[in-house]
């Protein structure tokens, strides 16, 4: 792997990891606030940086079965949410390739 500098985002509002303040996503890439995770409210993002994904697994959600992967902070390794690999129901297809970050694990950074 080598040493890789983390990505730094440019935005008026940047969401970072609440543990280590690593940049994760911007307000511009947020698609929806209407999601729920393990720790309550969660956000759907189009693009998230500085995370790596765990193995894919099938998970039963309120909106049906999905194949998802947990996503972890590259710096502190905390699980921050998940990424949708596949949705089986046509109405849920829009989530594929998108990311969920849990609000309780985010903090505003600059």
């Amino acid at each position: 792997m080598g040493w890789i500098h983390r990505d730094y985002l440019h935005s008026a509002r940047i969401f970072g990891c609440s543990t280590c303040r690593t940049h994760l996503a911007t307000i511009e890439s947020m698609i929806s606030r209407a999601f729920n995770g393990q720790h309550g409210r969660a956000y759907l993002f189009d693009r998230v940086v500085n995370v790596y994904s765990a193995e894919p697994q099938e998970r039963q959600m309120t909106t049906g079965v999905h194949i998802v992967r947990d996503i972890l902070c590259v710096k502190c390794n905390r699980v921050l949410g998940w990424k949708y690999d596949k949705a089986f129901e046509e109405t849920q297809k829009y989530k594929e390739g998108k990311f969920i970050l849990e609000r309780a694990l985010l903090t505003d950074v600059d």
Binding site: M1, G2, W3, I4, H5, R6, D7, Y8, H10, S11, R21, V49
Partner: protein
């Protein structure tokens, strides 16, 4: 007949020399060298050396003269300080252009004026100032300075104030050189012209010598070429003590120790030992510096090689290199520290990081100053005695990657420097980073590692400008630290994401070596030994460090090629 001119010191001699008449104008048949030019350069060299009789004979035999009588008269007039004669001679010699004539006259008058002042002949000096200098002067400030010299009370004071070494110094020689630009070079050959031409030939040969790795002078008798036998292309020892990727390495300034920084959270100090004929280079770990919270990504040896700095995320540790005792742990950054570096005079060190901050510490680890809110997130820094260069990633919301060269004269950090945007280049979004910077030992160049796949050489003289690029290696997302190296820093070396080490000739940018040996992953850093031009080290994701040297055991290239490695022979053939 007296042929004395030029230096004209030898007494006239009676000698029967027959002029040789040759056909054509070339030096000899088929030559592109003009005979007259060549012979006059030889005569000039002979006179410069002091072989005046030989020069006289050559002039008589060839019929070519170094200089006409009017040039000799002009030279004599300047050297002896006969200013009126000098002006007349100057008029005879050329300077077709009226402006040139005026400038020449002004320079002669200025010398005359200074010499009069030096001799404290103030009235005469004043006359020269009024009647000769003032009417010709183009620069009022210069004239003001010259007139202020009238207040000087001694010759010594005049010399100091005018930055001029006096009538008995070299000032008349310098004047002669300056005036020479107004005289066609065919009439008065520039000083030491032959030497200049040979120096150019030498420089050409040095630059054509791909593996040049020695500062020793070489002979004019044959074309010069270094063999590969002095070039470090063989791994003489593999250092395998780290448990994870090795990210940074640095030699101590005396070249006797190597410090290595790893993702395993340790740094190791190695002592370079002798070469053993059967086992290769000896290199033993003498200290393991532990207890870093995370990967160690930066190192810096103090100028006296006593103290070693390591940095890991937001912490700097200060170690006694000999004992391995951590004497300080410093915090002052709010994001990853990417570089630490001692000041060249050892009075302290600086750290820089992704928090857009540069912190200045004294040698005891006390914070002296902080520059905050710089316009870049700093990825590396380099320093010499007058300059600090920081490179990084722009904070601004742009989709281009400005490799800002941030240049400051004030390394005490009293003011925030105004960053000069050295270059703004379109690169792929989120791809392409400036990951390393080094300054050459002559302070003239900066070597900037620039993703993707490029290392840039910046000329820092005047306004910084891109001088050359080195390509061939692979550098995308990884931080790869490249370096200058070899005798006269003749090479540029870098790691690569494909596990190889790349070495270019600095001057031409020609890729001369691609060295394999490291396992898969990235070669993260290459460091040339500052005392041994034929040795460098590389470190890799494969958890090892390799030391590269010429083939040991007196196993010369001939030995290798005779065993059938034909590719070695290519250069030997070219050497002739």
């Amino acid at each position: 007949m007296s042929l004395t001119n030029g230096h004209g010191l030898s007494p006239p001699r009676k000698r029967d020399v027959t002029k040789v008449t040759l056909p054509g104008t070339a030096l000899y048949e088929g030559s592109h060298i003009d005979r007259e030019e060549f012979i006059r350069l030889v005569i000039q060299s002979l006179r410069d050396v002091g072989y005046t009789e030989s020069a006289d004979v050559l002039e008589a035999e060839s019929g070519y003269r170094l200089e006409s009588r009017s040039v000799s008269a002009f030279r004599q007039a300047i050297i002896q300080g006969h200013w009126d004669e000098a002006e007349e001679a100057m008029d005879r010699l050329g300077a077709a252009d009226e402006d040139d004539r005026q400038s020449a006259k002004y320079m002669i008058s200025q010398q005359k004026y200074l010499e009069l002042l030096e001799a404290q002949e103030l009235n005469s000096a004043l006359t020269v100032l009024r009647t000769e200098l003032a009417p010709l002067s183009m620069e009022p400030e210069r004239l003001q300075l010259l007139s202020s010299l009238l207040m000087s009370t001694s010759g010594e004071e005049v010399r100091r104030a005018a930055h001029w070494d006096g009538a008995r110094g070299l000032s008349r020689q310098y004047l002669l050189q300056d005036l020479q630009c107004f005289i066609p070079s065919s009439i008065m050959i520039p000083p030491q012209r032959f030497d200049t031409l040979l120096q150019q030939a030498r420089e050409y040969q040095r630059n054509s010598c791909l593996y040049h790795n020695s500062n020793a002078p070489f002979s004019l008798y044959t074309d010069h070429a270094c063999g590969r036998d002095l070039f470090p292309n063989t791994t003489t020892v593999i250092l395998a003590e780290h448990d994870d990727e090795v990210w940074d390495i640095q030699w101590s300034h005396d070249g006797g120790h190597l410090a290595t920084a790893s993702a395993d959270g340790t740094a190791i100090v190695w002592r370079l030992g002798p070469v053993d004929p059967s086992t290769g280079r000896e290199c033993t770990p003498i200290q393991v510096l532990r207890n870093h919270p995370c990967p160690v990504n930066g190192l810096s040896w103090s100028p006296d090689n006593e103290t070693l700095l390591t940095c890991a995320d937001q912490v700097i540790k200060v170690w006694k290199a000999k004992t391995g005792v951590c004497i300080k742990e410093l915090t002052g950054h709010s994001d990853t520290i990417t570089a630490v570096e001692w000041l060249p005079d050892g009075s302290g060190f600086i750290s820089a990081g992704m928090d857009c901050r540069i912190v200045f510490w004294d040698a005891q680890g006390k914070k002296r100053d902080t520059w905050e809110n710089l316009s870049i997130r700093i990825t590396d820094i380099a320093m010499d005695r007058s300059r600090l260069i920081a490179v990084g990633i722009s904070r601004e919301p742009v989709t281009v990657d400005p490799a800002s060269l941030l240049d400051s004269q004030d390394r005490n950090g009293r003011s925030v420097p105004s960053p000069t945007e050295g270059q703004v280049e379109s690169t792929l979004e989120d791809y392409g980073e400036v990951t390393s910077v080094k300054i050459s030992s002559d302070s003239r160049y900066a070597l900037v590692g620039h993703g993707p796949n490029e290392i840039q050489l910046w000329d820092l003289e005047d306004s910084p400008h891109l001088s050359r690029t080195y390509i061939g290696h692979r550098a995308g997302k990884n931080v790869i630290r490249s370096c200058f190296g070899g005798a006269g820093q003749h090479f540029v070396a870098s790691g690569s994401e494909n596990g190889k080490v790349y070495i270019w000739q600095r001057e031409t940018g020609i890729l001369i070596q691609t060295l394999t040996g490291h396992g898969s992953g990235t070669v993260n850093c290459v460091a040339w030994n500052p005392q041994h031009p034929s040795m460098f080290a590389s470190c890799s994701d494969d958890k090892t460090i390799r030391i590269w040297e010429p083939q040991p055991n007196g196993l010369s290239l001939e030995d290798t090629s005779s065993k059938g490695k034909q590719r070695w022979d290519m250069d030997s053939d070219a050497m002739g």
